[in-house]
């Protein structure tokens, strides 16, 4: 009779060598896999934020730590307050709760009473400008990357949940909502409308009061739009994004006027000086474009060493760009040639720089963006807000005297850069 095959082939004793080897191999495999996971964990968790600082009344509002907003005196660079000051805090007289805000990607909006900002966990906060206590907090349906902006109708918030919200700045109540598609970039409020670019590749022009679309159809491309819409002159909006294209759009009709191809995605806020648009891309190129027709103004784009997420700024007739590796470049705006040696911060930088005039007021850094983020209420409010009165109007490039550039690093340091001397110094640490 034939024996049971199982018993024949595998008696219960002598598997020792193979098993021992197998177990050792298995243990080694497990250790390798777990080591890989452990090594990768730190990078997974990063949503640290990259908000550009804003200044009002000689106070700078800056994110040095993930999920925290700090007010700094621009005269002494001493910290005034940090929100949240503790793990538990209450908003608007409500119950105190333990909340840990996620990274802040959008620059804060300031109206003289409160500072408004969004966090990556989808919450919008209003905190008192004077002491940083929470006035109100609301939640959107998804993450928040876009900076909120202020207008005469209220606070506009573009969210990744696909909506643009119009909120009452006093209490955060929703006044209007428009389903635009996921918004990652700050909207632009101009005289004739609210411009919203979306990750679904659309540029909307909305009525600032009702949020109804103004154009018969939005401008539409297949790839997502990452840059905040930026106005050039009276008739063009510039926007760009993942498709490696920068577009000039007719403000009246929403039709494409021109497009320019870059080296990679456009993500940083373009800087506009007159009709010239300076744009950075993730290939590390800085390009100058005639905003009226899309012609490139330099012989060749300026090439940085690393990708550039942040937008360029103008200080002392010098175009300043900072790449993701923390290398600061001074560029001749007329020719696109580098000036002097680049400066190294030895820390990564994703946030756009801020330019301050010698008197501590904010120079033009985002062209028309700064106006709607800081001073919009000044034009609509019957009583002038204290901040609005102290808020500078965008200074023409080159007229600011000894302007300084302020750069926030991912390591939580604030650096001051002198564009004349090409020197950097750390002024604040987290």
């Amino acid at each position: 009779m034939r024996q049971d095959a199982t018993r024949e082939l595998s008696p219960p004793g002598p598997l020792s060598l193979a098993r021992a080897r197998g177990k050792k191999t298995g243990a080694l495999l497990a250790l390798v896999v777990l080591g890989v996971l452990a090594a990768g964990c730190a990078k997974v968790s990063g949503s640290d934020g990259w908000a550009r600082p804003e200044v009002a009344d000689k106070v700078m509002y800056v994110t040095l730590e993930k999920g925290k907003l700090t007010a700094i005196d621009t005269g002494t660079f001493q910290k005034i307050w940090t929100f949240p000051a503790a793990e538990e805090f209450a908003c608007g007289g409500g119950e105190s709760k333990k909340i840990k805000p996620d990274g802040i990607y959008g620059s804060p909006a300031i109206d003289g009473a409160n500072v408004y900002f969004g966090t990556y966990d989808g919450a919008v906060y209003a905190v008192k400008q004077s002491d940083g206590t929470c006035v109100w907090r609301i939640e959107t349906g998804d993450t928040l990357q876009a900076a909120p902006i202020l207008g005469s109708e209220g606070l506009y918030v573009g969210a990744n949940d696909g909506n643009v919200y119009l909120l009452d700045p006093k209490n955060g109540d929703q006044k209007q909502k428009f389903n635009s598609g996921a918004v990652w970039a700050a909207p632009l409020l101009k005289d004739d409308g609210l411009y919203v670019s979306t990750m679904t590749g659309k540029l909307w022009k909305l009525d600032p009061k009702t949020l109804e679309p103004v154009w018969s159809a939005p401008f539409k491309v297949s790839a997502g739009l990452l840059t905040p819409p930026t106005a050039v002159g009276d008739d063009t909006i510039v926007v760009g994004g993942i498709g490696k294209q920068l577009y000039g759009i007719d403000r009246k009709t929403g039709a494409e006027k021109w497009s320019v191809t870059g080296g990679n995605w456009f993500w940083g806020e373009p800087f506009v000086d007159g009709t010239t648009v300076y744009a950075t891309d993730l290939d590390g190129q800085v390009t100058a474009i005639d905003g009226t027709n899309g012609n490139k103004l330099w012989d060749a784009p300026f090439a940085a060493l690393n990708a550039i997420r942040s937008g360029p700024v103008m200080a002392e007739n010098t175009l300043v760009a900072v790449d993701n590796g923390g290398v600061i470049y001074r560029i001749d705006p007329a020719t696109g040639k580098g000036i002097g040696q680049p400066n190294l911060l030895n820390e990564d930088v994703h946030a756009s720089p801020l330019v301050l005039n010698a008197d501590g007021t904010q120079a033009s850094s985002l062209s028309n963006q700064s106006v709607s983020r800081v001073a919009a209420l000044a034009t609509s409010s019957t009583t002038p807000s204290p901040v609005a009165s102290g808020t500078p109007t965008p200074a023409p490039s080159g007229s600011a005297g000894a302007a300084k550039v302020y750069i926030v690093t991912t390591g939580g340091h604030l650096f001051e850069f002198d564009p004349d001397a090409g020197r950097t110094s750390q002024v604040v640490s987290k």
């Binding site: 009779m1 034939r2 024996q3 049971d4 095959a5 199982t6 018993r7 024949e8 082939l9 595998s10 008696p11 219960p12 004793g13 002598p14 598997l15 020792s16 060598l17 193979a18 098993r19 021992a20 080897r21 197998g22 177990k23 191999t25 298995g26 243990a27 495999l29 497990a30 390798v32 896999v33 777990l34 890989v36 996971l37 452990a38 990768g40 964990c41 990078k43 997974v44 990063g46 949503s47 640290d48 990259w50 990274g103 990607y105 990357q145 990652w184 990750m199 590749g201 297949s222 790839a223 993942i242 498709g243 990679n264 995605w265 993500w267 993730l282 990708a307 997420r309 993701n324 994703h350």
Partner: protein
């Protein structure tokens, strides 16, 4: 003269060699060109394939991960099966190895005889490492690819921009839809369901695939591993993007099917899942050996078989490898045994 088991076919070896040579030469070329071979050879292609598949799954990135995992496991199925068959072959020659260990006290001579035995059986002692190595590499690459694609933060997108091939349809997939079932694929699962599934599927997969240890010490080590690995993976999955957890669950389920394919139905014994020592009785020393039959190699008999096995041994555990070996060598033997009972 002693019999040896039927040699394992070595069909996979040349393929593995060709793949290894191609990889090594590509990596060298990358290094010479000053590019990061790890990114260029593994991460970037994986990312772009994931985005391609995302078009097929209508932008449902959760389905893309599942689809990709299945395709990947199917593509590496020959390697997986070869690995499992190597394990089976190793089990088959165990009796002879035990005999050699007893017979030769000189380690050098014993090693030589063992190598001879491997050669006769067509078993490559390092055969298991090739597939394992490839799986580790693929896993590491996929892990990094998922971190970039569903990393869950704008920072991860900055890194992704340099890794996409210049095709408009790939750029159009960004940002990926992170929502799948109850999960946000770029973030850890707050409901703990995915970590639990990862732990459970790893435990079951380990429990069913493992063979009992020969000594008490080995059994204890196995016990520890079958508990420790799932627990550690659960712990890590708590902090990883849930998309990685989805990959892990799917690949574990696929492994179960692959083991079933090789070992047969008997591996699916619920006894195997119980958290008790699997070996039944403590492992005995080498069993009594049957006298070798002349010409036994032709009918598959091997030296080291148990002499009397007409009466089934109730204490003998259900071992996947054994069952599979039985089926491969004796066809429908299981059915007959059942009938006898």
């Amino acid at each position: 003269m002693t019999a040896v088991p039927q040699p394992v076919k070595r069909r996979g070896l040349p393929l593995t060699g060709v793949i290894a040579l191609t990889l090594i030469s590509t990596i060298l070329a990358m290094v010479i060109a000053g590019r990061n071979p790890w990114n260029e050879v593994f991460i970037n292609p994986l990312i772009n394939v994931l985005l391609m598949l995302n078009i097929i799954t209508f932008g449902q990135f959760g389905l893309t991960i599942i689809f990709f995992t299945l395709l990947l496991r199917l593509a590496t199925l020959p390697l997986t099966i070869r690995q499992l068959q190597s394990t089976k072959a190793m089990q088959a020659i165990q009796p002879r190895m035990a005999e050699l260990q007893k017979k030769y006290k000189d380690p050098k001579r014993r090693q030589e005889e063992m190598m001879k035995l491997y050669k006769e059986a067509g078993f490559n002692p390092l055969g298991c490492f090739g597939p394992m190595f490839i799986q580790i590499i693929v896993f590491m690459g996929l892990y990094r690819a998922l971190v970039y694609t569903v990393g869950g933060s704008p920072e991860s997108l900055v890194g992704l921009s340099h890794r996409l091939y210049p095709l408009g349809i790939l750029q159009d997939q960004i940002p990926l839809n992170q929502h799948f079932l109850w999960l946000s694929l770029g973030h850890p699962d707050q409901t703990f369901m995915v970590p639990l599934l990862v732990g459970a599927s790893t435990y079951i997969q380990q429990r069913l695939a493992v063979t009992p240890g020969a000594t008490e010490q080995q059994q204890q080590q196995q016990q520890m591993m079958t508990w420790m690995l799932p627990l550690m993976l659960m712990f890590f999955t708590l902090n990883l993007p849930s998309g990685v957890g989805v990959y892990w669950v799917v690949t574990n389920v696929f492994s179960l099917f692959a083991s079933y394919w090789v070992y047969g139905k008997r591996m699916l014994s619920w006894k195997q899942l119980l958290p008790i020592p699997m070996g039944g009785p403590s492992p005995a020393p080498a069993p009594a050996l049957r006298k070798p039959k002349s010409g036994s190699r032709s009918n598959g008999d091997i030296e080291g078989e148990v002499i009397d096995s007409d009466q089934p041994d109730d204490n003998e555990p259900d071992v996947p490898g054994r069952a599979g070996e039985a089926r491969s060598q004796y066809g429908k033997r299981r059915g007959k045994r059942k009938k006898r009972r």
